[in-house]
Amino acid sequence: MNVKRRRLLLAGASATALVATQAHAQAKVIAVGVSLPLTGPGAATGITTQRTLERGVELINAEGIQIGPDRYTLKLAFYDNKYVPAEAVTIVEKLLADGTRFLISLGSGNSVPVVARTTAVKALQMSYASGKGHLTSPDFPLSFRVAPTNETAYAVYPWLRATYKDVQKTGHMNPSDEAGFTESEDRRMIAEKNGFTNVANEYFKRGSTDFYPVATRLVNAKPDLIDFGGTIGRDQSLGCKALRELGYKGKIMLGYSDAKSFVEVAGADAAEGTLLFDTLVDPQNAQQKELQDWWLKKYGPPFPSFAYSAWDTPFILAMGMKKAQSTDPVKIAEALRGAKWDGLYGPEAFGMKSVYGIDTSITRAIPIAVIKGGKPVQLTTVPWPADV
């Protein structure tokens, strides 16, 4: 074997080794299962969340997550639970059987039925969901709620009390499922604590077409304000439209929506004056602007404001991994409980130990908008109450 040939072989062997090393480095992928309603009545929120998560993970993976000498990336696997709890359970059983130990879930009806199972196998679950004690409890130390839901009422109702003195009686309208029952229970309790009288508590089947019957019941109870609680998507617009068509003159408050679509479907007249909790109309900082610009460039208008709420989750997960310097869900959960960070909305934290006995529910300022002249307008931002 001459020198030239030996060098060539050596170079070949080195190249093979390098490729093998790179392949090994690329193999450090962390699988994250995502259970969302991509069809069915929650699809609008589900698709928005899917697109937003994809973008977030794209940015995270460009840098990678450095844990000791190893660089990790996240790989999202999306599954459509159709907002059917049985589907969600099947999806999560499959994910856990495949060895996935990180789950992102949307909707309380899809998240609550799986939390005992994820806790049992020590998988980390991050839910965009209400579900209060059913998801946030010392019994579920690896379960985190990443979007403020029923708890927004802790911030919003004191503000309502101080701002709208003429509002005394509140009514509540919610879907007849886990999310709706939880939202209704919490919001009624918090409303009462703030001196309001609850005069109506109505439920409807998610995805209903005709809201006249439920709206008629609400109008007859004569509330000064109707809180739509866990009502999302098209249901909000149809509920609002039916109430106004039946002559309701009081205030309507809702959240988790894309304000522009809400106005389009409800109609400008019906939507006028509606209060939108946890709703950002326009970007308030550079990061929010960047997200909106990216969406409009990729998907075109309208930009759904729920994308803001969905944004932080993969970054929180990556932060937990870096902080724990581990891919072990138990250690990551330990690092995340009570953690504070600067998120899309400014300072954010996992807290609410005073309510649930564990710091695993997201807390942050709640932006509030109002429909004025047929358009959503930013009204104020309510700080998170210090005692909650």
Binding site: T39, K205, P213, L246
Partner: protein
């Protein structure tokens, strides 16, 4: 008293809108014994078509947009007939299964194509009518009126025109109609076109009342099946009466006992009728 009148008015108006969707379903079943699960998707696609033609950049007048959507729906209906149901020889079970599959496929594709945000066709007749404390949106009254006109037109077509009589002949006895020189295939095409046009108008009306998203056809289709089953598969008169009955029942139970009970009561009524009279109130025995 005002509450009772509100319940009756809301129920009748909603019932008439469901009636239009249900008429398309019962027409196909009466003539071909085909339970068309794609009907709800035709409702949805037509609503999107009216929106993009009438509200979007083209900005066509509403009537023209609805005509274009009806023509497109008719074309899709005939394509469905030739691609989905004809190869199955209109076998009730096979058509049932392939219809469900196609419906899910169209709905899922629609989420990807049209995106997640709901939209709506603006009301043609905006405003609300207040009749002594009974409120009803003008657009609902307009939609209900249009549904009545179309139901009457369908009745006149079936009873007083040559193609209509041919359809009834095929419905009553396919073999005898064939011996009389009536082409059943031609009748099937006509039935699919009429059914699709009814779906298109229903879609435009629902889109202006309840907004548009890829799921919008699901609940009206489910209601239609309940209505058609109660009225009797294939019976136009039965469908009209059952639609009004279901509209009133929904309105009364929803208002008096809460929204969730309406569906339970619908199904309870359906089960009762199926037990007592399996062919529905005005239907006939499918095996004959």
């Amino acid at each position: 008293m005002t509450l009772a009148l509100q319940i009756v008015t809301s129920g009748l108006v909603t019932g008439l809108i469901y009636m239009l969707i249900a008429l398309g379903v019962t027409l196909l079943f009466g003539i071909m014994r085909v339970v068309n699960f794609v009907h709800g998707e035709l409702v949805m696609l037509s609503a999107f078509a009216v929106y993009f033609l009438g509200v979007g950049e083209l900005g066509l007048p509403f009537a023209l947009a609805m005509l274009c959507a009806a023509a497109a729906a008719a074309a899709v209906g005939v394509i469905c007939q030739y691609v989905l149901f004809r190869p199955m020889h209109y076998d009730i079970l096979n058509c049932f299964i392939i219809g469900i599959g196609a419906s899910f496929a169209i709905r899922s594709a629609s989420w990807a194509i049209f995106g997640p945000e709901p939209i709506a066709i603006p009301a043609i007749v905006p405003g609300v009518m207040n009749l002594g404390g009974v409120f009803i949106a003008n657009q609902r009254l307009f939609a209900a009126g249009l549904c009545v006109v179309l139901a009457i037109a369908l009745y006149l077509f079936l009873h007083y025109t040559r193609p209509g009589k041919a359809m009834r002949a095929v419905e009553q006895d396919r073999e005898a109609a064939l011996l009389m020189g009536i082409s059943s295939e031609q009748v099937y095409v006509t039935a699919f076109i009429i059914s699709a046009v009814l779906a298109a108008v229903g879609g435009a009306m629902l889109g202006s009342l309840f907004g548009i998203d890829p799921e919008m056809g699901a609940e009206p289709l489910l209601k239609s099946f309940i209505i058609v089953q109660i009225g009797g598969m294939g019976s136009i008169a039965g469908t009209v009466i059952a639609a009004l009955f279901i509209g009133l029942t929904d309105s009364a139970t929803g208002t008096l006992f809460g929204g969730e009970l309406a569906f339970i009561i619908d199904f309870a009524i359906l089960m009762l009728i199926l037990i007592v009279r399996p062919r529905g109130l005005f239907g006939y025995d499918v095996s004959h």
